[in-house]
Symmetry: C2
Subunit: 224 residues, 2 copies
DNA sequence: AATAAATAATAGTATTACTATCATTTATAA
DNA sequence: TTATAAATGATAGTAATACTATTATTTATT
């Protein structure tokens, strides 16, 4: 029997559970490909339906609208990242090594194929970088939050925050630093690839530079 | 004669310069109000035209589409912030005090009415927090960048980066830290107001907490 | 007073984000 | 097996949106 990760998703995000049918899984799989390829603004349910070989109505039976589908996909990734962190740092005793590993995981710089999955994580990571903040930068963020849409994100922030606490119990802002770390990992990745003149990273071994920057940022803040 | 700040805007952002006519200035003014009120996704040129008392065609003579209008508004704010920083830190000799003042300015925690302006900066600040990253999180960010749309943003990052350098010439990542500082100031402001459980700031004197967090983040990183 | 530029008024189009309906296939249960 | 329900496919339709085009009118410039 294969090991499969089950990420628990908020029920109100979907009309029909996409994990439970072939069509549902296809919706997720092709959404990831299309959103990554065209960007969220140009992502249309009609194109999605065509690429799957179904109709618009078929998609709408699973997701009310494309924003919920985006939130679903992104939440799935947060849940999956949270799981990865728990799984991969499981044997690491030293909290500082643990936090360093977390930074690597957040920059997508570690082998995640330890656990097989039916989604393409590297595409998902790119979606996170380019579209992630659109999931909460809306006027209805409050209602979405009440519906627990951001629970996986908050759980992840909490997990990272707890590791930060382990490193230095005296540090005042573990959760703020955790959310900063998560977002800045994506932000700098976006900048380095799309607005390179904004940072002064040289363009060789980009990911390593981001990790170096983040390590410096986090560990000097918590004085380790 | 009144002192008026002129922020230099990239010409390719508009079709007709909105600074040069009453209608143009109205477009900017009402856009700011509408975007802040309804969010960018629900912001429609038709509603904008109605609120000004003109027609859709009138708006389209100034801006090709609503994304360019957003970029215009946001760029204006970056340019204005950059100017504020130059102006307000002008007499400050000590680079550390200077950087502290920059952090205050970025968190909107300082009196900016020193210089009069026909736009409402506090509305603009809210737009920046909620919509700012949408200006570059697109598939056409590369072309937009080639058109110099992000020059004011980069200039601001550069100004802040230079002040960071003044504080510690040895610090390796002044520009990355500058962009991080600018974005995190907005991010934490958004979180504290919209997803409060994500940070562990208590809800009193929110802005002060953000400043404290940012000061800690920046000054420990550059070891001052 | 003549000319050009800017604006207003109106209409039109292709696309989009859905909703509704009904027929057909597939799974489940008696 | 048959009856029943659930999921899917096929098709059509609608209101709203993001524009473009055209012509008339007002305002500014020479």
């Amino acid at each position: 029997m294969k090991l499969a990760v089950q990420i628990k998703m908020t029920k109100s995000l979907y009309l029909r559970d996409p994990e439970q049918s072939e069509l549902g899984r296809n919706i997720i799989k092709h959404s990831i490909q299309l959103i990554q390829k065209t960007g969220f603004e140009s992502f249309k349910f009609k194109k999605l339906a065509e690429s799957i070989g179904t109709t618009e109505a078929g998609i709408y039976r699973y997701f009310e609208n494309k924003h919920k589908l985006l939130v679903y996909i992104i939440s799935w990734y947060w849940g999956w990242l949270d799981f990865q962190i728990g799984y991969q740092t499981n044997n690491v005793k030293d909290p500082i090594s643990k936090l360093k590993l977390v930074i690597k995981i957040l920059t997508n710089n570690v082998n995640k194929d330890l656990i097989p999955s039916h989604v393409d994580e590297s595409l998902l990571h790119q979606i996170l970088i380019a579209e992630g903040s659109k999931s909460y930068l809306t006027k209805h963020v409050g209602e979405d939050n009440n519906q627990q849409y951001f629970k996986p994100y908050k759980d992840l922030c909490n997990s990272v925050g707890e590791i930060i606490k382990e490193c230095n119990t005296q540090y005042q802002f573990p959760h703020a630093l955790a959310s900063t770390l998560i977002e800045v990992a994506h932000l700098q990745n976006f900048f380095i690839h799309n607005l390179p003149t904004i940072t002064n990273f040289d363009q060789t071994k980009k990911e390593d530079k981001i990790i170096e920057f983040l390590n410096n940022l986090v560990f000097s803040s918590i004085k380790c």
